[in-house]
Symmetry: C2
Subunit: 339 residues, 2 copies
């Protein structure tokens, strides 16, 4: 079995985006009526997924995608808690319907109604709803809800602890994932996403978060940002700053996904970080679409790169399936047992 | 000859830092007298360099370091133009004295008196002074003088053009280098430096700056941040966003240094970016000091990694010497001709 831990519902039916537009219009003009989430038929959902994610799963030979709302659409910078809560709920409900229509192909990971500087109560409640009522197996957690200005405290700060307690209680991981950048200096897909991965990793290196939350698990997407390429830098910095060794302090609880879109990057990830901390992921139909003219294959067909690593069968199963089952234990309720 | 294009005067004599403290004290209490730069003897400068940078040059077999003031000490976030101008001048004058005492070992690159949001006139003037009067061969240019909040426009914006015009006129390159991060979420050495490299590269991919300034040259340090590891992502994004091909639009004018502190990172840099766009650099006595316990060699002894690449003699000379002579043509006045 091949589990892709990183997919977003980038092909949601258009009425869903119109609900969002109506939300934003009402924020600009509070005299407008409160909009209701879009009415979307099962057929519309099937049509949004069948020729897209399901087709690609079949073509590439992957089985299940851990599926979450569109990341750049989370828009946590829109600073109204009620709007954020309604938007997260609508996005998650739509993902839930995908997972109900195609239970063998998708498991849900939820968007949280974060607002920079606000308490996390609404996030805790939405996480609990999605996991206990909708069968979701994880969530996306935005370390910078300001959208490119980094106004929130580091993820080692106690600000985040109420959410970590709920994650631990529910035994689900968080993927660290920012949303759109509002900062004109920082491109969303070409800078902000990767910078966030790098920034949070260094926050974790500089703290001892997992001593306090030993069961907490984070997935850092996009191959860990700049981290594997600069692994020596992090090792040396940890020594210079008299921090605990990274392997024991961070790498028991942190996993890097494989959303790195060329062979040399995946080669480096596997060589430096190793199969024990890698989770297969493609982010198909995500940031980077289209084919590499040099190979004729899609940039985001990361399975091809991993297939070329020459991993042992055991390592290969770790990357494609067993690590994901360990990090997302609630997958077990949705899947046949590993053999 | 081996030219190291990235060194900072991290061992400047202590009175220099006391001058800075006095500057900051006067900003807090304007009734204090305006401080004068520290009086530092030639012997004190020799003693600060001889057992440090010069010893390491001898030990590692490198020849000349392009030497600039301490990067994290630039502190462009301190928003007083007169203070910034006096601080840059004092830092550059001290580097100049190093280059005069050891002309075969050091060439200068200057700090600019940047202030977020302020016009660049003072920067243009200091660049001109350093190049035409002090014999400097380049400068460091901070894309985020706010120190971790990214309040300046992208480097493709016309805000920066007066400086680019002077760089082109003087035929000197800029190394893109941020200073200390004031943002508690963003670690200076483990996140902000690498994020800046990544962010600026994407700014350049998204613009057509070098069509307007064909002679302008940037060095992106720390191996280009996350860029080489995610080279496929950038190629795919450029196609998706209908941007010009990166090789023609960016890579004729942009060079990555080799401050990547482990063998797999340098292997990837050389394999993906190639010797034509690599400049040897170590940032010795910089962010990462000490030895890799796995190899017994210093993390920042990047020459060892390059020596192991198995480059042809021509490629090796490009990386160690010829690219630097091309990017920094004013080195020619300080060096014997290339043979």
């Amino acid at each position: 079995m091949i589990i892709d831990c990183h997919g977003h519902y980038t092909t949601a039916p258009a009425p869903h985006a119109r609900f969002r537009e109506a939300q934003l219009a009402r924020l600009a003009d509070p005299s407008l009526p409160e909009p209701a989430p879009a009415e979307i038929s099962d057929d519309a959902i099937r049509e949004s997924v069948e020729p897209n994610q399901l087709r690609i799963q079949r073509e590439r030979g992957t089985d299940l995608t851990i599926f979450s709302p569109r990341a750049s659409g989370m828009e946590h910078h829109v600073g109204d808690p009620a709007t954020a809560a309604a938007w997260a709920r609508a996005c998650n409900d739509l993902v839930h319907r995908v997972t109900e229509l195609f239970p063998g192909n998708f498991a849900g990971a939820c968007q949280l109604p974060q607002v920079a500087g606000a308490p996390l109560d609404d996030c805790v409640a939405e996480l609990e709803r999605c996991v206990t009522q909708l069968g979701f197996v994880g969530c996306n957690l935005n370390p910078d809800p300001s959208g490119g200005y980094w106004t929130s405290p580091p993820m080692t700060d106690e600000y985040w602890f109420p959410l970590y307690e709920k994650l631990a209680e529910l035994d689900v991981p968080a993927m660290i994932h920012v949303s759109t950048s509002c900062n004109p200096a920082v491109h969303t897909l070409g800078a902000h996403y990767l910078n966030a991965d790098t920034t949070v990793f260094m926050q974790l290196v500089g703290g001892e978060l997992f001593a306090r939350f030993p069961g907490l698990r984070f997935v850092i997407p996009h191959g860990g940002g700049a981290v594997p390429y600069h692994w020596g830098r992090y090792q040396g910095l940890a020594v210079r700053e008299k921090l605990p060794a990274i392997v024991g302090n961070v790498m028991r609880n942190v996993y890097f996904d494989t959303c790195v879109y060329h062979q040399p990057g995946i080669d480096l990830l596997a060589g430096v970080i190793g199969p024990g901390n890698m989770l297969f992921a493609s982010e198909m139909l995500g940031a980077v679409r289209g084919d590499n003219p040099g190979t004729g294959a899609p940039w985001d067909d990361t399975k091809r790169y991993i297939d070329k690593l020459g991993l042992s069968e055991q390592d290969r199963r770790q990357v494609f399936e067993l690590n994901a089952r360990r990090v997302y234990p609630r997958l077990a309720a949705r899947l046949p047992a590993a053999t």
